[in-house]
Symmetry: C2
Subunit: 256 residues, 2 copies
């Protein structure tokens, strides 16, 4: 698998350097950014190149303000990266908790119609499926039921499903997830989930149905995750000035 140290354009490299300074705390929320002229000196590039780098940080919500004064580092938002939103392990580590897993099965079987529709494959085609209980600091919080297309699922046979992040391990095997669509609703716990999550039957759970895809849009994974409702909440930060934030409230289909 090729290294991530790919060639970056100058403006991308500058943006990355500034992101790293923000991430590391070297540039703290509320503090001013160096001015454009300082940055042109520091990176030995033209002002246009610096402005392109800053435009990216602005679009990501990392910096704000300007016009006559230097921009400032925005207060750290609640937003998580793509990887943190899709991978339970990465998310847990980001909030300083200890994730672990207990896998009940990894089976190769024929795809049911619902998963087939989501994965854009024929019903009955071979897929890999697992059920895992996820724990935070030893307490059960999530039941994952994940279906992978065969070409990705077979790689799971060599992964440590009780170990680290499945996404990280698949990433090391050349599988790239570039987008995901996650649909969240509330359901009542059935007997099986209630037992696994150690809650009363009919307790509310958050269900997240996720379809993750490759960069070219090909679906790779379809899963239904059920979270203890007392363990999770989702925060959306909506802004007028940041449309297209990839969130939709939908009328439920009434089929789950």
């Amino acid at each position: 698998m090729p290294s991530k140290a790919v060639h970056l354009s100058r403006h991308a490299a500058i943006a990355q350097a500034l992101r790293e300074q923000i991430r590391s705390g070297e540039l703290t929320p509320g503090s001013p950014l160096p001015s454009e002229s300082q940055l042109t000196d520091r990176f030995a590039v033209s002002r246009g190149t610096v402005r392109q780098a800053l435009a990216a940080l602005r679009a990501e919500g990392l910096i704000a303000g300007g016009r006559g004064r230097v921009p400032v580092i925005r207060r750290a938002g609640l937003a998580q990266s793509f990887d943190q939103l899709v991978s339970f392990s990465l998310w847990a580590r980001q909030i300083g908790r200890n994730p672990s897993a207990r896998t009940f099965e990894l089976t190769r079987r024929r795809c049911d119609p619902e998963a087939a529709e989501q994965l854009a494959i024929e019903p009955g085609a071979p897929i890999f499926f697992y059920t895992r209980l996820r724990l935070l600091d030893g307490a059960p919080v999530l039941v994952e039921r994940a279906t992978f297309v065969e070409s990705v699922g077979r790689l799971l046979l060599d992964c440590d499903l009780d170990g680290g992040s499945v996404y990280e391990q698949l990433g090391q095997r050349g599988v790239e997830f570039a987008e995901a669509q996650q649909t969240i609703c509330a359901i009542a716990a059935g007997a099986e989930d209630a037992a696994l999550l150690e809650v009363a039957r009919r307790s509310p759970l958050l269900e997240v149905r996720r379809r993750a895809a490759a960069p070219d849009g090909t679906p790779l994974e379809w899963s239904r995750d059920r979270y203890r409702a007392d363990a999770f909440e989702i925060t959306l930060h909506n802004q007028h000035a940041l449309p297209g934030a990839g969130v939709a409230l939908r009328a439920a289909r009434n089929d789950h």
Copy 2:
């Protein structure tokens, strides 16, 4: 209230013209955009100005692709605008449903500590509070319990709370909501909510706690909305290439 027809820079005007063509269907998903040179001719500007306009559309996820070929209009995403995510009425109309409301009370009273914390005011300070039942096509789907700072809440006395969108009516009275933070979790219906929403007690509900603020960040509204779980779901579209999408999964505070 001043008109929205404010002066736009050239690149902003070009971006706006192209957004309108996409919105109206004149440019349909999958179809190519005019090339940069065609756009420089059409708008009589330099290529850099056109590129800045296109960068905005790209950041919003409206167009994609390029490098050697013209970009294409992206398939309409599920994302809703800020107004649609915050206002039940606007959202309902966007999905083609008929919203209505039944207001039980609008009272001016002293602020409780929880709402005071969220609105950044002193506990005991005067606020306005209402409870509304929201219906889609005549069916109850949502109970809203909203608290407004006094200066905004007093305007509600002149609003038709059973009529159109509160946000629209406040907007007409000069109140601008520029950002909102909405936290979603699953809860079990209590007796009151169960009766209002016509579900069994202990049925799962989606709770959305929202704090909406003015452009300068001053909180204006704190509310707790409870949705029938069978009527709503939330879809997040996450992409590697669009970080900073304003979504966070959090460990619950266990205090609700």
